[in-house]
């Protein structure tokens, strides 16, 4: 029994897509388990519909869209009123400034990323993880290019502001 001629090879695609889609999910969620759930679900959907998907469009782009849509739908609304208290932020300020500065930089930025609204985080991720153009990001997120630019602008401003207030060394605009 042979595979259907003309259909892209599922094995090869999956091998190549797994790290990319998992990496995207991790960049969005910042959590390994959540990223595995998100990416495995998206990849499984593509695999289960391989015949249709592989012939209709870019399979990796399709999986990417599932990841983004699922992430945004899970985060929709409930994020808007979640605020982390000052106590937590204070804990991120290094007690001393003369050691482990690299670690502090990273943790502070990760924490600041986590505080971004989901759509801002998604826009930032698609630009800086996927290196997509604003137009591609807009198409993926279902919004206008100007909205994408605005989201990224506000996100970078927030990250920059957070970095300064947290005394994160080595980060500048």
């Amino acid at each position: 029994m042979t595979k259907n001629e003309g259909a892209p090879d599922l094995d090869a695609w999956l091998d190549g897509a797994m790290p990319r889609i998992y990496g995207l999910a991790y960049a969005l969620t910042g959590d390994r388990h959540a990223a595995e759930d998100l990416s495995q679900e998206a990849l499984a959907t593509v695999v289960s519909k391989w015949r249709t998907v592989s012939r209709a469009q870019n399979s990796t782009a399709y999986a990417r869209k599932i990841v983004v849509n699922t992430f945004l739908s899970q985060k929709r609304k409930r994020w808007t009123r979640e605020v982390i208290s000052d106590d937590v932020v204070t804990e991120l300020v290094p007690s001393t400034s003369d050691h482990a500065s690299g670690l502090v930089d990273r943790e502070a930025l990760v924490e600041a990323l986590r505080e971004l609204p989901p759509r801002q985080r998604t826009a930032v991720t698609l630009r800086y993880y996927e290196d997509l153009s604003d137009a591609d990001i807009a198409a993926l997120m279902g919004c206008s290019v100007s909205t994408v630019r605005s989201s990224i602008h506000h996100a970078l401003a927030a990250l920059r502001s957070g970095a300064v207030s947290l005394d994160v060394r080595g980060v500048s605009s």
Binding site: D11, P19, G23, D37, K49, R78, D87, L156
Partner: protein
């Protein structure tokens, strides 16, 4: 050295911890197989009264090459008997207790599935039974192959499953869909009295799991479609050929055997033989006579995918927006599983992960909106959230929240008010100052489930009415679901 913020961003975003890729891929393939099988099975089963229509479909396709032409059209069936019937000693239903999610995350299942799958040497075609593939973990049982991949699926949901996989003797790899020869035997348990309904829905290809590739239904000789069925599914892009499935119902358990590859008539005969033998062994085991519930624990490194966990622990109890009686007041569906585990009173608390406190094992959320004429800073909408959370210790969680301790703290000065007709020990009504709109908090503790409502209104009285009405109505809805064997509300059905 000073780095640009963008450089740091790229570095952070691209530094995902490396997963176990072998396990990762296996999980993807297993999940994909479940989705495919769910779609196939939903499309395959027929009702008793549909037998004539099924025969007509089968006669029609018999004269044409397999899979040629458009996608097969599912038979249009007349609603069959709701209870099914005993046939040849096969019980019509099974006296299963409900599946229960325990507070520690494990499940109490209606029973453990006995191993009735063929051993190596008993399987046709020399297929080898894979060691250690018996799916008795909660993950496999919860993520059963039928009707569970989409949370919005209509109709009964299986409570669990167990399956055994087989591969060709000449293959050194784990069975995968693209291999030339592979098979599996699966047992699926349905809530008491619902297997027939599930089969009818599958036959009608209704609900969220739809059949997305060509298939043929093939009546099982001598058996009604509500009791047994067969089908062949076009999976040329996946397997290079077809998948053949035979399935029978025994009370509220279904047993199916599927094979990849081979000659259609020969393989279906083999599948029927495997299923018949498994059915006979299941009946002989007498496990269905008086099913004994069994606790299924999570294996190491396995955990339940979200959000299904929350949706199973907690039913959808958010009241209809109509109960408020305000023009424009609306609910935004779906009622999501919430990730706000540290903020049980959403909209009135600040998450404070720096402090320990009782954490919910599951949480769901519904949001409401009310257009406001004054076009305030939030775009002219007053927001209301209803969260319902299941805690290991609901009493402890309630006391922490009302005392402003634990995993979250009040946003601003919070003043408790009297709530006539409600027990102060289990309910809490309050206002909160320093907010842009009048805001009202209403909490109700029902066993270990906390219902919290945070409502905005144009006036304090309006916010109070919204909060108290939704809290009381949500509690009534929760009570309607009954209590499970572990006493937790909402698990009764």
């Amino acid at each position: 050295m000073t780095m640009q913020l963008e450089d740091h961003l790229r570095e952070v975003l691209r530094d995902a911890p490396e997963p176990d890729w072998h396990a990762f891929r296996a999980a993807v393939e297993a999940q994909a197989a479940r989705q495919r099988r769910g779609r196939m099975l939903r499309a395959s089963l027929g009702g008793i009264a549909a037998a004539a229509a099924v025969v007509a479909v089968a006669m029609s396709v018999a004269s044409t090459p397999l899979f040629d032409g458009p996608r097969a059209t599912p038979a249009q069936s007349v609603t069959p008997s709701a209870t099914g019937s005993a046939l040849g000693g096969v019980p019509a239903t099974t006296d299963f207790q409900p599946r229960v999610k325990l507070a520690n995350g494990d499940y109490r299942l209606p029973m453990s599935f006995p191993d009735v799958a063929p051993q190596t040497g008993e399987m046709p075609g020399g297929l080898v039974r894979l060691r250690g593939t018996s799916d008795t973990s909660p993950q496999a049982s919860v993520a059963s192959s039928i009707c569970v991949t989409t949370s919005g699926a209509v109709g009964p949901q299986p409570w669990g499953s167990a399956s055994w996989a087989y591969r060709g003797a000449d293959s050194s790899k784990v069975a995968r869909p693209h291999e030339d020869r592979a098979a599996a035997v699966t047992l699926v348990g349905w809530p008491r009295g619902t297997a027939v309904t599930g089969m009818r829905q599958l036959d009608q290809n209704s609900g969220a799991c739809t059949f997305d590739t060509a298939f043929d239904k093939i009546p099982w000789p001598g058996r009604a479609a509500s009791e047994a069925n067969q089908f062949a599914v076009d999976e040329r892009s996946q397997t290079g050929g077809a998948t053949y499935v035979a399935i029978r119902r025994v009370g509220d358990v279904t047993i199916d055997a599927w094979f990849y590859g081979g000659d259609r008539d020969t393989v279906l005969a083999q599948a029927r033989s495997v299923v018949d033998k498994a059915v006979a062994e299941l009946i002989a085991s007498r496990t269905l006579d008086a099913p004994v519930p069994a606790v299924a624990k999570w294996a190491a490194n396995l955990r339940e995918p979200s959000p299904m966990r929350d949706e199973f622990i907690l039913p959808a109890i958010a009241p209809s927006a109509k109960v408020i009686g305000l023009t424009g007041f609306s609910r935004r569906d779906p009622q999501l599983a919430s990730a706000m585990g540290s903020v049980p009173v959403l909209g009135a608390q600040l998450g404070d992960t720096g402090h320990p406190g009782e954490r919910a094992v599951a949480m769901r959320q519904a949001d409401y909106q009310l257009p406001m004429p004054d076009q305030g800073e939030d775009g002219g909408m007053a927001n209301t959230s209803v969260l319902w959370s299941s805690f290991p210790d609901g009493r402890k969680a309630f006391d922490e929240i009302t005392a402003d301790k634990g995993s979250a703290r009040w946003w601003g000065p919070t003043t408790r008010e009297a709530w006539p007709g409600h027990d102060e020990a289990t309910t809490f009504l309050a206002t909160q100052a320093e907010r842009p709109r009048p805001l009202q908090i209403a909490l109700r503790l029902e066993g270990d489930v906390l219902i919290s409502v945070v409502a905005q209104g144009q006036t304090q009285a309006q916010a109070r009415t919204i909060a108290t009405t939704l809290a009381d109505d949500a509690a009534r809805n929760l009570a309607a679901f009954g209590r499970g064997p572990d006493g937790r509300p909402g698990n009764g059905r």
